[in-house]
C-alpha cells in the first residue's frame, strides 16, 4: 500500500546510499523550469567548471520576475533588471535551451506556463529555482523549489541529492460555499496548521472537495503548500487532470497519449495507504479568508476581527502579533470589514489563471472601483491567459471598472519591477506572501481570493463576497 508520494519518489531513485527509508538518494529530474533571478549564478558555475547541461530538452526557461507589465515595446527601464533578463536570454541561446522571450505570446509566470504548455505532466519530478514550484504538484508531480546551487546541480547531472520527507494527507471533504475558492481552502489550512505546520512533509490534498476543484483551483492550493512550510503539495490524477492536459503543445499525442494516460491513472494513493500525519478540513465550514498580519498564518475569515495581543498568553506569539499589527498599522480587535484599502492586485502564480480572472470579472461586471482605491491592476499569468481573457471580453469589464490591464509577469507579487506599494500603502492582493516589504518597502499586504479582491475594490474595504454572489 503506497501513497502517491511513495510512488513518485520510488520511480525517480537513481541511486540510494543505503536501504533505509531516510537514505540520501540521487533523484532523477524530468522537468527543469528556469527563470532569470535564480539561474545566472548557476549557469556561470556550470561554465566555470567546463560542464554542459545534461539534457537540454528537459529545460524550459522564461523571464517573469523582473519583466515590466507596461510598455514592453520600450524595453526595460531598470538596467539591472535588463541585465538579468539578457543574461538568461544569452545563456539559453548559447546552450540551445527552449525559452519564451519577453515578447513571445507564450511568456508568463513560470508556474503558469509549465502546465499551460503541457510541459508539466503527471508522474514527473519538476524543479525550479523558485519555492512555488509546488504548484505543479496539482498534476500528481513531485514538484519542489530548489536553490541556485541545486539549479546548477540539476543542469549538470539531471539529478538532485535528496532525502524523502514525511507524508501528510490533508483531507478536505464536503461542499465549498458559493464564493468560497481554493485560495480560501489554502489560507484556512495554513491558519490551522501554521506556516511551519508542513515543515518536513510532502502534502497530498485529497477528499471530495479537492476532486471538485478545477485544475486552476488545484494549482492555487498546491502553490500555497509551500506557505504551510511543506516541501511539496500534490493531488492524485483524475479525469479533470487528463482533460486539462489533452492537446497541449508539449503533451504526448496519438498512441503515446493512450499509454501515458494508462500510466497516469495509477498515480494516486492506494486505498489504505498510511500517512505520517492526517489533517481533516470541512469545506462547508470555510468562509472567505483575509490575512491581517505579516505571515500567511495570520489569517481569519471575513466575519472575523484582528486579534488582540493582550489576550495571547504565549509571550513570543504575543510579540509576533504585536509587531505584525504595528507594521500593518491596524488596531487590535478591528473587524476585517473595517479595513480600507489603497491598492488592488490581481495576479501572481497563485491566482492569475483564466478561471481567476473570470471570477474577479464576474464580481466587477457593471461596477466601478471605490474612490479611495488609488490603483487596481490585473496582471494575467501569461500571454495566452491574457489573450483568452480578451477573447472573452474580460479585459473590457476590468477596464470599465477602473482596473489597469497589464502584461504578464510576477509584477506586484514581489515588486521586483516597477509595480510596487509605497510605504504605508495597503493592498488586497491575490498573491501568496504578506511578508513585510514583500510588495514594496513599508507596503501592507492582505492576501485574499480574486473574488474577494474584486469585491474589496468596489467597496473600498473588505466585504463578504458571498453577499454579492
Amino acid at each position: 500500500m503506497k501513497t502517491l508520494y511513495d510512488k513518485l519518489w520510488e520511480a525517480h531513485v537513481v541511486h540510494a546510499e543505503s536501504d533505509k527509508p531516510d537514505s540520501t538518494v540521487l533523484l532523477y529530474i524530468d522537468r527543469h523550469l528556469v527563470h532569470e533571478v535564480t539561474s545566472p549564478q548557476a549557469f556561470e558555475g556550470l561554465k566555470l567548471a567546463g560542464r554542459k547541461p545534461w539534457r537540454t530538452r528537459s529545460i524550459l526557461a522564461v523571464a517573469d520576475h523582473n519583466v515590466p507589465t507596461t510598455n514592453r515595446k520600450n524595453g526595460i527601464s531598470d538596467p539591472t533588471s535588463q541585465l538579468q533578463i539578457e543574461t538568461l536570454d544569452q545563456n539559453c541561446d548559447e546552450l540551445g535551451i527552449t525559452e519564451f522571450k519577453m515578447n513571445d505570446l507564450r511568456q508568463g509566470i513560470v508556474h503558469v506556463i509549465g502546465p499551460e504548455q503541457g510541459a508539466t505532466l503527471p508522474g514527473m519530478t519538476v524543479v525550479c529555482g523558485d519555492s512555488h514550484t509546488s504548484t505543479h504538484g496539482a498534476f500528481a508531480c513531485l514538484a519542489f523549489g530548489i536553490g541556485t546551487s541545486e539549479v546548477e546541480h540539476v543542469l549538470a547531472t539531471q539529478c538532485l541529492v535528496a532525502k524523502k520527507s514525511k507524508s501528510m494527507q490533508v483531507l478536505v471533504e464536503g461542499v465549498l460555499g458559493k464564493g468560497v475558492t481554493a485560495k480560501d481552502i489554502a489560507l484556512n489550512i495554513i491558519g490551522k496548521i501554521g506556516t511551519a505546520g508542513g515543515t518536513g512533509y510532502a502534502i497530498e490534498f485529497a477528499g471530495n472537495a479537492i476532486r471538485s476543484l478545477s485544475m486552476e483551483g488545484r494549482m492555487t492550493l498546491c502553490n500555497m503548500a509551500i506557505e504551510a512550510g511543506a516541501r511539496a503539495g500534490m493531488i492524485a490524477v483524475d479525469d479533470t487532470t487528463i482533460d486539462y492536459i489533452k492537446g497541449r503543445p508539449f503533451a504526448p499525442k496519438g498512441q503515446m497519449w493512450e499509454s501515458a494516460v494508462n500510466y497516469w491513472r495509477t498515480l494516486k494513493s492506494d486505498e489504505g495507504a498510511v500517512f505520517d500525519c492526517v489533517v481533516t478540513v470541512n469545506a462547508a465550514e470555510i468562509s472567505p479568508q483575509v490575512t491581517w498580519g505579516t505571515s500567511p498564518e495570520m489569517v481569519t475569515s471575513i466575519e472575523g476581527s484582528v486579534p488582540d495581543p493582550e489576550s495571547i498568553f504565549d509571550l513570543s506569539k504575543r510579540n509576533d502579533v504585536e509587531s505584525a499589527l504595528k507594521y500593518m498599522g491596524i488596531k487590535p480587535n478591528t473587524p476585517i470589514q473595517a479595513i480600507y484599502l489603497d491598492k488592488i492586485f490581481i495576479g501572481s502564480c497563485t491566482n492569475s489563471r483564466i478561471e481567476d480572472l473570470r471570477e474577479a470579472a464576474s464580481i466587477l461586471k457593471g461596477k466601478r472601483i471605490a474612490d479611495n482605491i488609488k490603483l487596481a491592476i490585473v496582471v494575467p499569468g501569461s500571454g495566452l491567459v491574457k489573450s483568452q481573457a480578451e477573447q472573452e471580453g474580460l479585459d473590457q469589464i476590468f477596464r470599465a471598472a477602473g482596473f489597469e490591464w497589464r502584461e504578464p509577469g510576477c509584477s506586484m507579487c514581489l515588486a521586483m519591477n516597477d509595480d510596487k506599494l509605497l510605504p504605508g500603502e495597503r493592498c488586497a492582493s491575490t498573491s501568496n506572501r504578506n511578508f513585510e516589504g514583500r510588495q514594496g518597502p513599508g507596503g501592507r499586504t492582505h492576501l485574499v481570493s480574486p473574488a474577494m479582491a474584486a469585491a474589496a475594490a468596489v467597496a473600498g474595504h473588505f466585504v463578504d463576497v458571498r453577499l454579492i454572489h
Partner: protein, 212 residues
C-alpha cells in the same frame, strides 16, 4: 564549496520567529547576477532606516540603532541564534549567501524552513537545530552576557557555552562529510554517471512522452 572547520565565535540573538527570506535579503538586491556582495544588504529593511537600493553605499546610510545586529557589542558575530521557522519563504539562495557574506558561519534555531536549510549546506553555512527550550536559554544568556561566545564542533556535533554546558545536535552524515571536506556535490554525483544514463534509458523506453 567552502570547508567548514570548527567555529568559536561571538553569538548574536535575533529574537523573532518566522524570519523570512524577504527580510534576510530584500528582493531589490536579487537583481545581481553575481554570487557575492549580498552581505552588505543582509536584513536591509531592519538594519537601515532608509530604503536600500542596489549600488547605494552603506557608508552614507542611517543605521537603525534598535536593530540587534547594529549593537556595538555584537559586531563581528559569527553565530546567529534565532527562533522557529527561520528562512521561510522563497527559495532564494541569496539569503544564505548574504548571511555568509556578512560573516555568519552558523545559524542556530529550533526549526528552519526546508529549502533554506538545504541551501545552507550547499554553501558551507551550518544550520543547527536545537530544542526550543535550549534556544530560549541561549538567547537569554547572550542578552545577559556581553562577549558571549559559542563553540561549535561539527565533528563531535556539539555546541558549547562559555560555562561549558554542552548541547548535542543532529546532522545528516552525508552532509557532514561534504561540509568537513568541502566537497563539490556535482563532482560526487557525476561519479554515478553510468547509473544516471542507465536509469534515463530505461525511463525513456518506458515513458517516452517524458522525452519529447
Amino acid at each position: 564549496m567552502k570547508k567548514f572547520t570548527d567555529c568559536d565565535g561571538l553569538a548574536v540573538p535575533l529574537d523573532r520567529s518566522n524570519v523570512d527570506t524577504d527580510a534576510i535579503i530584500p528582493k531589490q538586491f536579487l537583481k545581481s547576477i553575481k554570487r557575492s556582495g549580498f552581505g552588505q544588504n543582509l536584513f536591509d529593511e531592519w538594519r537601515f532606516l532608509d530604503t536600500g537600493e542596489p549600488g547605494k553605499e552603506n557608508l552614507h546610510r542611517k543605521l537603525n540603532p534598535d536593530f540587534v545586529l547594529n549593537f556595538p557589542r555584537y559586531q563581528g558575530a559569527r553565530i546567529l541564534v534565532t527562533r522557529d521557522n527561520f528562512g521561510c519563504g522563497s527559495s532564494r539562495e541569496h539569503a544564505p549567501w548574504a548571511l555568509q557574506d556578512y560573516g555568519f558561519e552558523v545559524i542556530i534555531a529550533p526549526s528552519f524552513a526546508d529549502i533554506f536549510f538545504n541551501n545552507c549546506f550547499k554553501i558551507g553555512l551550518l544550520p543547527i537545530v536545537l530544542d526550543s527550550k535550549v534556544v530560549e536559554k541561549l538567547i537569554a544568556q547572550i542578552q545577559a552576557t556581553e562577549g558571549y561566545r559559542l563553540a561549535i564542533n561539527l565533528e563531535a556535533q556539539t555546541v558549547t557555552t562559555p560555562t561549558k554546558e554542552c548541547y548535542h545536535f543532529d546532522v545528516d552524515s552525508f552532509r557532514k562529510h561534504c561540509l568537513i571536506n568541502g566537497l563539490d556535490e556535482i563532482g560526487l554525483t557525476l561519479q554515478h554517471t553510468d547509473k544516471i544514463k542507465l536509469f534515463e534509458q530505461k525511463r525513456q523506453s518506458e515513458q517516452p512522452w517524458l522525452f519529447i
